[in-house]
Assembly symmetry: C2
Homo-oligomer: 351 residues x 2
């Protein structure tokens, strides 16, 4: 087993989730009911029959927020309810062991310090990339992964930055408004990463184990997600900075945000090809009146990326200009009012 | 389940273990062979028969040093060797899952960043006090706890600081040179904590599971451990600071170091009374020419404690004076040349 090399792509996002008033935290309530319903409908108790063995749950890409703790409390309580309803005896309820996973660069110390005193489960932090193996064979009963897989571990660089490639992507920082070849390169990377995630979990999940994924995505048949406002705002800012000589044009051309928002159809295709997995539930929900990201949220999400690629001065300049453009953004993108999430439950059946 | 309240007693020690040249790190090599021999002789493979289930190891009170990683590599390799020798088939070797446990205040981020790329086990950090439950029932195969239990989670304060108690302990910062009642109060606290540690592990270990403890101790029949040089040096320094008015005498009287060095006999008594545990091996080893602790090691080990109780100024003053006294200490305590460690292996047999 080799520990996978990790990109720093997600480093910046932690501070977003850390703020309970942030976009990220606000959204858990919106699919909490779905989570409880999923467990009530699809959890199969006969695959976890020994009451003495612990029920093991992993939160992949957990970050450091109250969201992850809310989600784990919701899941453990729903599983407990299911056990009680199923067996009629509360003595048959297993103990719970929750694994909080995120990249090594995540602030696990901050997460551990936030553990509630009344938590009803044993808990551990598991550092590492969820695109590789993290747990022993057949050791997980439930996997939860919320708003993490749209962050790619890397962009398909060789394709996007090679002038001879059909997916060469100058003048842009993402696949928004890009030729089909660029979109395809992004989708290719997303597909590869979903495949490695599913292949690792196929080793780690018990037969009958459930996996719930929440992914910011886009509607079938649309080319761009409503989330694209950020890229559409940042892109001209960076190009302006290049024109003014604050940064080289080449540097901007080499910058591509490692993020992909799949459609339900794309996601379905990938999961259906993964051996052992079956989609038992797929729904989408939208956020009404999705606001323009405030600058501090943008800084939390993209600060690390921008600083790493361009240096602090250029990154700060970009955020300053974004701040000034916020009123314009509100006017310019009235259609960007809704954000789409894909909520998918898959079951692992060992062949 | 309630997460136990934690003292800050151990906060300071991390920096000691972090330095590979420190006392703490140097000592692992001295009992590495014992660890390998323990596994070879006492590991009972029939209690862990399914090759698909992971072999689960916990390192209790792991701190943040190379020591803990060396120990986990040694244990996993020795267990693997035992499997290969036992079954003759390397395909029967299980996967390993190692849990690094320490208090919530431990720097888990630093530990995770030090994970070697070639590690042959899955790994997690488990924050919390090992005097309480940390893992699900019957989920651990092997428990390792090195140089951690001599740190008490608290001193028996009500006894040591009450002028009406026979164990009232003014003018001293430990049980060294103290009346029997004070030593007994310390031993009582140590006993209580060992009992809670063993009682929690009795729930968590599988039948036939092993536990190896390495504890700085003292020889049977002696009153003080050779480690006492630190207390013997710090005590007069603090009393001098009180005399000079830098700190109140009462404050010094209320300060007692939460540390106890048991004798093999005391340890045996405690373990023999713990239900389900059997001592399969108990040995002691000594360090030849144990040096006087350099000031930075002392600061690492006691800085947190002293600062919390006395404030930074007094703590720094104490370290300055200790630094000046080091040459005297070398002359004064020639008999302090040896440090004793107790190495004990216990087996859990479910009744």
């Amino acid at each position: 087993m080799q520990v996978e090399a990790e990109s720093d792509a997600m480093v910046g996002e932690h501070s977003v989730s850390e703020d309970p008033s942030s976009q990220s935290a606000m959204q858990f309530g919106e699919y909490k009911d779905s989570l409880v319903a999923t467990i009530s409908q699809h959890l199969d108790l006969k695959h976890h029959c020994t009451s003495s063995a612990a029920y093991r749950i992993a939160d992949l890409g957990c970050f450091v927020g109250p969201h992850t703790l809310d989600a784990m409390r919701t899941i453990t309580e729903a599983v407990k309810d299911k056990y009680k309803a199923g067996g009629g005896q509360s003595s048959g309820t297993p103990e719970f062991f929750v694994y909080f996973n995120d990249r090594v660069t995540n602030d696990f110390n901050a997460l551990f310090a936030k553990f509630p005193e009344d938590r009803q489960y044993f808990a551990a932090g598991v550092p590492g990339s969820f695109h590789g193996r993290l747990f022993p064979k057949a050791s997980l009963d439930f996997v939860y992964c919320s708003k993490a897989v749209h962050w790619l571990s890397k962009v398909p660089e060789e394709e996007l930055t090679d002038p001879n490639s059909p997916a060469y992507n100058p003048d842009r920082i993402s696949y928004i408004n890009a030729p089909t070849a660029v979109c395809d390169a992004y989708l290719g990377q997303f597909t590869k990463e979903m495949e490695s995630l599913l292949s690792a979990r196929a080793q780690e999940l018990v037969h009958g184990g459930l996996m719930v994924l929440v992914i910011p995505g886009r509607a079938n048949g649309t080319q761009y997600p409503s989330w694209s406002q950020v890229f559409m705002a940042l892109e001209p800012i960076l190009l302006d900075l290049a024109k003014e000589g604050m940064v080289s044009k080449n540097k901007v051309d080499l910058f591509n945000v490692p993020m992909y928002f799949p459609s339900p159809e794309e996601l379905k295709n990938i999961i259906q090809k993964a051996e052992g997995f079956e989609i038992v539930e797929l729904s989408t929900f939208t956020r009404i009146s999705f606001p323009v990201f405030p600058t501090e949220v943008l800084r939390g999400a993209y600060g690390g990326l921008l600083t790493k690629h361009f240096g602090t001065e250029v990154a700060e300049q970009a955020f300053d200009r974004y701040e000034k453009e916020i009123p314009t953004l509100r006017l310019r993108n009235p259609a960007e009012g809704n954000g789409l999430f894909i909520y998918v439950t898959i079951k692992f059946n060992k062949s």
